[in-house]
Point group: C2
C-alpha cells in the first residue's frame, strides 16, 4: 500500500490517497487512533471522491472512525471496459422502456461482485496492518458487495446496506447466511430498486439483529440524518 | 387540571400525577423549562405507569422535553366496560384461532379513538396553559389515535407511530390527509400486526417526510435504541 497524497483537514482528520496494486483508494483517519474501521463501498459509476461519499466519510471520521473507500473495478479512476459500458447503457434503455432487466443486470454485477470482494479483502489486510487502525470493521455501501463480504469475511462485524432492490440471484441466496447486525436502507420511491424485492431481501437475511430504515423519495434522496443514524448503528457494534 | 402527587427524580426531572375531569395522567418536566411537549399514547390495556412507558418518558424528559401520558378510556386506572372486555377476549380468541378479526377490532377501537382524541385535545389545552410547557408538540404512540390527532389537531407538529398493522378503516382513509413528519415503527414479526397492512399504511400517509423503522422480533421486542432514534426524530422537528 502506497500513500500518494496527504491532507490534514481543519477538523484534524488526516485524508490520504493510496494505491494497492491497481486499486486506488482514500483513507480518512480520526484524531484519536487506533480507531475502528468503516469500509465505504460505492457503485453505479461513483468515484471514490464523489462529494456525498466524501461528506459521509469525513463525518464518520469526525465521530472517531477510520474510513476507507476504494474505486471498484471499472469505476472512478479505473479503466472501464467497453462490455461494461454497453451493459450499463443497455440497462438504462431497458429500464426506461419498462423491459425486464435482470439478465442485463446479472451480466455486469455478478463479475463486479466477484472481483470487488477479494479487492476489499486485500485492502482490509493492508489497512489492518497500519498502527492507526484497530478494532472491529464495518462495511457501508452497495448491497450485493456487502452481502458477499459479510458471508466470506469474518472480520466484518456489522454492515449498513443500501439499495437492495436489484441484487444478483447469488447474493439473494447468500443473504440467508448473513449473521452480522445489519442496517438496511431503502428509498421508498427508488424506481431503479423495486421496493418489494428490497423488502423480501430484508426478510431473507439470517441476522438476529437487522433494522430497516425507509424514507420517501428516489435513489439519491436519502436524508442526511441517515448518515447520523448509520454512525450510531456502527457505534453500537464497533466501539 | 389537578396535580395529585409530585416527585423530584435524581435526574432533576419533576414527575407529577394529575387528573383532568375523569382523565388520570402523568406529566414529566425537564430541568430547563419552558420545554417542547411530547404526548405518549398507549393502548391494549397498558397503564400510564407501565415500566417501559415510564422509562421512555423519563428518557425523553432527560433530553429536554416535557412528556405527558394519560390513561385512555377503559385503560389503566379507569373503569373498563364489560362490553370492551368481552371484545378484547373475543379478539384474542379469534387471533389464536386464525379467524378474521377486523369486525371485532373495529367494534372496540373505533369508539376508543372517538373518545381518546378529544381527551388528548383537552389535555393539550390544559398542558399548554402551564408556564413550564412551550413550543411545538409531538405525539408518540398508538397509530390509530395518532392518525386522527394528526388530522384534527394542528398543534401536533410531528408523530411517532407504533404498530400500524390493525388500524380502523376510518384511520386508514385519514392517513392520506396526514401532512406532518412521521416516524413509523414496525416490529417485523409482530403476529398481532400484519406486516403488509402496516407497509400499506406507511405508503398511504400524505406526509412529505416519513420514515419507516422496522426491527426483527414480536410486538414487545422493540429495541431500546428506537427510543433514542425517536428522540432524535423529535429533536429535528420540535426543537
Amino acid at each position: 500500500m502506497q500513500f500518494t497524497s496527504e491532507q490534514r483537514l481543519d477538523s484534524g482528520i488526516l485524508e490520504r490517497e493510496f494505491t494497492l496494486c491497481e486499486i486506488p483508494g482514500v483513507l480518512w483517519t480520526p484524531v484519536t487512533t487506533p480507531a475502528p474501521l468503516i469500509l465505504i463501498g460505492h457503485n453505479g459509476g461513483l468515484h471514490k471522491r464523489e462529494p456525498r461519499l466524501v461528506a459521509r466519510a469525513r463525518y464518520c471520521a469526525e465521530q472517531g472512525y477510520a474510513v476507507a473507500a476504494i474505486d471498484a473495478p471499472g469505476h472512478g479512476d479505473r479503466p472501464s471496459s467497453a462490455v461494461d459500458e454497453q451493459a450499463r447503457a443497455d440497462l438504462r434503455r431497458a429500464m426506461q422502456a419498462g423491459e425486464p432487466v435482470d439478465e442485463i443486470f446479472e451480466s455486469f454485477v455478478v463479475p463486479l461482485v466477484d472481483q470487488a470482494v477479494p479487492e476489499w479483502q486485500a485492502t482490509l489486510d493492508a489497512l489492518l496492518a497500519l498502527p492507526e487502525i484497530g478494532g472491529p470493521v464495518g462495511y457501508s455501501g452497495m448491497t450485493a458487495i456487502g452481502i458477499r463480504l459479510a458471508v466470506v469475511e469474518p472480520r466484518i462485524a456489522a454492515a449498513g446496506l443500501f439499495a437492495g432492490g436489484y441484487v444478483p440471484r447469488a447474493q439473494r441466496e447468500e443473504a440467508r447466511q448473513v449473521r452480522i447486525p445489519l442496517l438496511f436502507l431503502l428509498q421508498w420511491d427508488d424506481q431503479g430498486n423495486p421496493r418489494q424485492r428490497a423488502l423480501d431481501l430484508f426478510d431473507a437475511f439470517g441476522s438476529k439483529e437487522k433494522t430497516l430504515h425507509a424514507n420517501v423519495g428516489g435513489h439519491a434522496g436519502t436524508p442526511w440524518f441517515e448518515v447520523e443514524d448509520g454512525d450510531r448503528f456502527f457505534g453500537r457494534h464497533l466501539k
